[in-house]
């Protein structure tokens, strides 16, 4: 059974189309990544799954229940850690989590135990009496994640869980995500961090400007990038001339141009590196560095979205 089935989902805010005709399935028991830059429609999709937004058209089914028509049922299955932690500035972490634990179904006694256990696990216990405005960005993020850990939902949603979080905490939170999956939850992680997606997600959907661009496992996505090799050249000189010199070569199907960097996708990258350097130098471009590598998820993203380097 699909944990989530998204069918022709469209979400508009006034004139703006945030998500346009999205179709995908998320399987029960997997860690699924929604990857895309800010404004790509990831959060809108997640918030609709959590019934916070209503679809403009189409529908989303969570464990076969429609978010449009069976919201009360869907919410029993879903727990979400929001991108922006939700609390008033005077709230204290302990009170917030205690209230949350009780509203998701724990008795008062159970709630105290599970909150203490979760706060200790996330190193939040020492912050329990502080007010929300006194917490760092990373601690606030952990507080948001603690809500989902306490809830233990069948479908756990994390919207950019490690944004503003230090490296050590990031790894700890990835362990939490994996642990939730191991304990039976289906997990959806929205991120714009390619490394994070590669590290924890079993399947990934790349979204861009409200549309699904591709879907598959990390390996499947990398295999779809034509050429197989990525040649990255750092240079000094006119970028247009660099582009023209590169395009004169055979077999350059796709490329991306930055101000001082050009990335080309091609076969047999190692063998052709010298040819590329030669072509650029002939055009008066000074080559500072050349690297040949397998495609990363960054490359996959740029290949499927057509986004330019440095595009915000």
């Amino acid at each position: 059974m699909a944990a989530v089935k998204i069918v022709n989902f469209v979400k508009r805010f006034g004139e703006v189309t945030a998500v346009n005709n999205l179709n995908l399935e998320i399987y029960e028991g997997e860690i699924f990544g929604l990857l895309g830059p800010n404004g790509s429609g990831k959060s809108t999709t997640l918030l609709t799954i959590a019934t916070v937004y209503k679809p403009t058209s189409g529908d989303i089914y969570v464990f076969e229940h429609s978010v449009s028509r069976e919201g009360d049922t869907v919410r029993k299955f879903v727990g979400i850690a929001f991108q922006e932690p939700k609390a008033m500035w005077v709230d204290t972490p302990y009170e917030l989590l205690l209230w949350h634990a009780m509203i998701v179904g724990y008795t008062s006694h159970e709630a105290k135990n599970v909150v203490k256990e979760t706060m200790e696990r996330l190193n939040l216990w020492e912050h329990r009496k502080k007010q929300f405005y006194q917490l760092s960005g990373g601690t606030r993020k952990k507080l948001e994640i603690a809500k989902v850990m306490i809830q233990r939902p069948r479908l756990a949603i994390f919207d950019e869980p490690t944004a503003q979080v230090d490296v050590i905490t990031k790894h700890a939170l990835w362990d939490v995500v994996r642990e939730m999956r191991d304990n039976g939850s289906t997990v959806i992680v929205a991120t714009n961090d390619m490394f994070e997606a590669e590290k924890i997600c079993e399947r990934i959907a790349i979204m861009y400007r409200g549309e699904l661009r591709t879907l598959g496992s990390v390996k499947e996505l990398k295999d779809q990038v034509p050429g197989g090799d990525v040649v990255e050249v750092s240079f000094e000189g006119d970028r247009e001339e660099a582009k023209d010199a590169l395009l004169k070569l055979d077999g350059i199907g796709r490329y991306m141009l930055g101000n001082d960097k050009i990335v080309a996708y091609l076969n047999k990258g190692e063998e052709r590196a010298a040819e590329i350097v030669s072509a650029l130098m002939s055009a008066g471009i000074k080559v500072k560095r050349i690297m040949v590598q397998e495609p990363t998820l960054d490359d996959v993203f740029f290949y499927f979205t057509g986004a330019r380097l440095g595009e915000g």
Binding site: F13, L47, A50, T51, V52, Y53, K54, G71, D72, R75, K76, V78, G79, I80, F82, E84, K86, A87, M88, W89, V90, E95, W99, M102, I103, V104, G105, Q151
Partner: protein, 269 residues
């Protein structure tokens, strides 16, 4: 979720609002002190002035009239101040958090209306105690009925507040709208002017007759001083009680409808 689960969620939502009220305890203490000064100094001076100028009949003590009026205006204003709290919660994304919780939307809206109403009611209890100390505590039945009426009234006002704030979804509109509502609705009522006086200006009079504030304040007056106010009240106590019940049920139902059918996250201006 079963009935017990729904009731537990309702209780926790009420607790949400009570926790917020408790955090404002210093503010409440200051309001109570100011209220005491208002009713004991300015209220007495005002009543003496009214008596001296022979504005009302000798059988009526304007001080009685005034004290219930000033308490009602306080209860209404405190209930309306929930609008600013809900607006702030919207800005902080708390509404989105609440919408994602595993509870029915009808429970969410009822819980917030009840919670806001109970919080406003408790907030003004010390002021009510001061009023009753100055006027006499009346019969236990009158006291009990007046407390129930105050609770129903404040829940109704918070239902109105939720319906409007969650519909307009704008901090600026909330500020303007509730500034106007707080100022005008109190004045278009029998809080400070008896219905018989307002009867001389037809639009004013009919606005006051339709105004739930008039029904609440006149109900309080007739509960404690029936003989004194039976001819001044907008209608008889039973009808006023029914009107208040209808007001609260109608507005809480509207809030439920809006939260269940219309409300979604985002779009806050």
């Amino acid at each position: 979720m079963d009935l017990m689960g729904d009731l537990k969620a309702l209780g926790l939502l009420v607790r949400w609002d009570l926790t917020r009220m408790w955090r404002r305890r210093m503010f409440i203490a200051m309001r109570v002190i100011w209220f005491t000064v208002q009713v004991s100094v300015f209220g007495l001076a005002l009543s003496a002035m009214v008596r001296f100028r022979g504005v009302v009949a000798h059988s009526i003590d304007y001080y009685h009239f005034y004290l219930f009026g000033v308490y009602t205006s306080m209860l209404f204003s405190i209930s309306v101040s929930n609008a600013y709290e809900v607006a702030e919660e919207f800005e902080e994304g708390i509404i989105e958090y609440h919408l994602s919780l595993p509870i029915k939307r009808s429970i969410l809206s009822t819980g917030r209306a009840l919670g806001g109403g109970i919080a406003a009611f408790i907030f003004t209890l010390p002021m009510y105690a001061i009023v009753l100390t100055l006027l006499g505590w009346g019969s236990p039945l009158a006291l009990f009925a007046s407390l129930i009426a105050a609770l129903i009234f404040s829940v109704g006002v918070v239902g109105l507040v939720l319906s409007i704030v969650l519909s307009v979804k704008s901090g600026d509109a909330t500020d303007i709208l509730f500034g106007i509502i707080d100022a005008i609705i109190i004045r278009l009522s029998t809080i400070f002017y008896p219905a018989v006086v307002l009867a001389k200006i037809a639009p004013y009079y009919y606005a006051a007759l339709a105004n739930p504030i008039s029904h609440f304040v006149d109900l309080l007056r007739t509960l404690f001083f029936f003989e004194e106010y039976k001819i001044l009240a907008v209608t008889d106590p039973l009808l006023m009680g029914c009107y208040l019940l209808g007001f609260a049920a109608g507005l809480v139902s509207t809030a439920i409808y809006i939260v269940e059918r219309k409300l979604e996250g985002g779009g806050w201006r």
